[in-house]
Symmetry: C2
Subunit: 521 residues, 2 copies
């Protein structure tokens, strides 16, 4: 039960943290019967409430005063000198439901809602969320639970309504270089459909769509600004984080990523909840399959696709899935600035086949769903929109609406000034380009935080190379990062060339990847 | 890789927290390329090192100064004005081993050691520990892993050596009122064996052995004090927490208890590691079995016992297990002061049969293991030692050595001044006394924090009661707590009386528990 403790004055201090913190003097804590690390509720005079953790500290100088962290003050609109009511928070109801899931039982909709509510309210924290995530990971959830989870995540965030039906493309990720959204959004918008794309920043990958777009324009907008951009241009590519759509997702991801977890029921519900929150009724889902992606086999990818379609049916969202080739990076560029360059180049004139084909195939499905092309003709229409330059014109509108420079040319986009080149050590055919190694090197080079860091692949699977051909460029903004990336390069195999010797004794393929490199500043 | 960032001056501030905290100004953080919530290493001029979390905050007034929490300063012996080196901590190696366990694989000894090392060093925190715990819970561990875990926990803490072989009794818990250690230790010590008992404070139960003993004497000693007490009296009952034996256990428990977890491999390893750390070579293990204990059935308890015996064989500890009746509380008293009264009374003159029988049976096994009684005669010797008053004399010595009053009488021990009585609503036989309900009521009444809070059971299973007989007393130190306890009483069934009607239609037992109560102050 919530137990009222007393009224105190507050002073705000800046603390960069995810947690909401209150500091109290020891004597005041004893007077109010509060222990350090107790979970409390702070209530403003206007009745706004927030969960916080209280700590006993001697940095508080006055009696009857508590210091509150700025994130907390912002949430309930309080400022220095304001009075707040402190109560001891009740034990979160969701704890028993998480325990129930841990023990292997099915949860009902109310129980799931309570878990998500407590996560969004900050009533439970990362430790409990880790428990919840692993329970979902091991015990799994059936479709009733996934539906309830999706609705709970949707209902506990902002909901944005548009005047016309909206379309969207989502990739479940895992393949580096996947800048297709920067082509799909302008193609679909140029055809006259609304495509209000919200996207994420990279967590474990070298760049997310929002990171790449941010090289060209702003991506952080509030709900009204976002709606205005979409109503002006028909499309947008913004960061979802600021819009507070299904905010439980970001909180859960922060806990999950500590151990690299991403259980499927949670992943599916998170994606669909965000799409529902922008009123999406037609969704094309890109499911890359292949080693190094989230779905190792086509079968796995197909199963996930079926779950999305069934969930979409229950929620009134029409879903079509494209299982795409994901066993190597898309296009040649990996990293925010390098990918932005490649996407822009593809819109202006031409780009790698893997990028163009994938983008126009997925865009084509949306054009068919929206009645802009007959079934079977969406792909051709998408290609035509791209070829005619309509997609590029639309992209310039979108960049301008999002506060960027619409006339920027690909080679004007700055990339890291430190770079390292890798050459083929032997003649042969490229038998593998490793998603995992490419991502690891690009991240070590500084991506996504250092926008100019990343990789250019000069060869892809099946290409023939001659000893001494350049096969890879690494870019970094800082020399230490370049060194880190080269270190990772030496311990991984981003590109595998199989020698074309007709016979070796003992008989086995020769796997090599590089033997020389030159560093330039 | 560990990355050196720079040297800064420190100022200590008090903050009551489990985490080790460093606060830094924004400009200094930018200069050192540190982000808020980065994990860092602080190193003193003397080379002592500690992991900490850094937060950007405006409470730091000077440049080139960081504020460090007092727990951190104590750990590496630094004070205001000292200079420390800050480095960015490398990614903990244990993360990949925890992920490996999550994915279902067996860990080798080095991997397990690294997890425990990182836990003890604070290199990984509660979120990762929750992940580890649930992985152990779902994936389990085989005996190789449990042995490695035990050794890792033992090696990462203090190790205490005694001059003679040492004996111990441990209960795996779950049954309320289990104050048997307060009888067993003096019985065994009176027979001339060394029994340096370390025990825990209650986490989820109404009292732990250390809480109960603390009513009679101090329980917090450092290693030298502990050794001195044991060398003087042959026995001791102290809190293990301050001795830093297998300190990983306390840290893991703090994370686990958020969701009430206690996976069996972790529990077994924790117990054995602590016993090894005090050089125990002979251990009798009390495994209560029954509804409401950790082991619901005798079969489960037997299986756990076998695991302990096998692990003991591998570690050179002779283990004998007693599966004990745990389906209802031991004795009549539950709660620190009430249990201390009951134990003392049993030593002085007499006590409930369930307490005397259990204590002398377990003590008897230790007397046989130590060669003080032939096999089969330990129980009789234990009873004799108790009857003659030798155990009470020894207990007085131990209380005095631990700084308590050896002459305290049971009824001089203060109990809560607020109390509530429960009467039998019908004639009949007691068919059940619920461990879970009894614990919940005692905890709601304030136990273990409020030492005088708890329960006296006036009836146990099989007792015949007449309508209006007093069956239960609840004690509390605060009136609000008494109300809470009565609230829990009304929503649980601590005592079930089956009416002795010969026949009911429809045929079913009548479960009732109480209908009237009187509150006195």
């Amino acid at each position: 039960m919530e137990e009222e403790k007393g009224i105190v004055k507050i002073k705000v201090f800046d603390l960069e943290t995810d947690e909401k913190i209150v500091l109290i003097r020891r004597d005041d804590a004893e007077k109010l019967d509060l222990k350090s690390q107790d979970k409390i509720i702070l209530q403003s005079k206007e009745g706004k409430r927030v969960y916080a953790t209280i700590y006993i500290s001697n940095v508080v100088e006055e009696k009857n005063l508590v210091l509150v962290s700025n994130n907390l003050a912002a949430e309930i609109d309080i400022k220095d000198g304001d009075k707040v009511k402190i109560s001891l928070a009740p034990i979160p109801k969701s704890i028993q439901y998480i325990k129930k899931k841990i023990s292997g039982q099915k949860l009902d909709a109310n129980e799931i809602y309570q878990i998500i509510r407590d996560i969004v309210d900050g009533h439970i924290g990362p430790v409990e969320i880790m428990g919840y995530t692993l329970a979902v990971n091991y015990v799994e959830m059936d479709m009733d639970e996934i539906e309830a989870l999706t609705r709970a995540m949707y209902e506990t965030g902002n909901i944005i309504e548009f005047d016309a039906p909206t379309y969207d493309k989502h990739s479940i990720g895992g393949v580096p270089g996947n800048k297709v959204s920067l082509l799909i959004v302008p193609i679909v918008a140029a055809a006259g459909l609304l495509i209000p794309k919200t996207s994420s920043k990279a967590i474990t990958s070298p760049t997310g769509t929002a990171d790449t777009m941010e090289v060209l324009a702003d991506v952080e907008f509030d709900v009204d600004e976002f709606k205005e951009i979409v109503s002006k241009t028909g499309g947008a590519i913004v960061w979802g984080g600021k819009l507070e759509l299904a905010p439980a997702d970001d909180i859960i991801i922060r806990a999950e990523r500590t151990l690299g977890l991403d259980p499927i029921p949670q992943m599916i519900a998170s994606i669909m909840a965000k799409k529902m929150a922008t009123g999406i009724k037609h969704l094309v889902l890109d499911i890359p399959a292949g080693v190094g992606t989230k779905m190792t086999t086509v079968e796995e990818a197909t199963n996930i696709g079926r779950l999305f379609i069934e969930l979409g049916d229950r929620l009134g969202v029409r879903v079509q899935c494209g299982v795409t080739y994901g066993a190597q990076p898309v296009g040649h560029a990996v990293g925010p600035a390098l990918e932005a360059r490649e996407a822009l180049q593809a819109l202006i004139k031409d780009g790698p086949a893997s990028l163009i084909e994938k983008a126009t195939s997925l865009a084509g499905i949306l054009l068919e769903m929206g009645g802009k092309a007959p079934i079977g003709y969406g792909y051709a229409l998408a290609k035509e929109i791209l070829r005619k330059g309509d997609a590029y014109s639309k992209m310039k509108e979108i960049i301008e609406a999002q506060g960027g420079d619409p006339d920027v040319k690909p080679d004007e986009i700055p990339v890291g000034e430190y770079h390292y080149e890798v050459y083929a050590p032997v003649d042969g055919f490229v038998t593998d380009v490793s998603n995992i190694a490419v991502s690891a090197i690009a991240r070590a080079a500084g991506a996504p935080k250092d926008r100019g860091a990343g990789i250019i692949l000069h060869v892809k699977r099946g290409h023939k190379v001659t000893k001494g051909d350049k096969i890879l460029d690494i870019y970094a903004e800082r020399s230490t990062r370049l060194q880190d990336a080269v270190g990772v390069l030496h311990s991984t195999r981003p590109i595998i060339i199989e020698g074309m010797l007709l016979k070796t004794i003992p008989e086995r393929p020769i796997y090599t990847y590089f033997s020389q490199g030159s560093s330039s500043e």
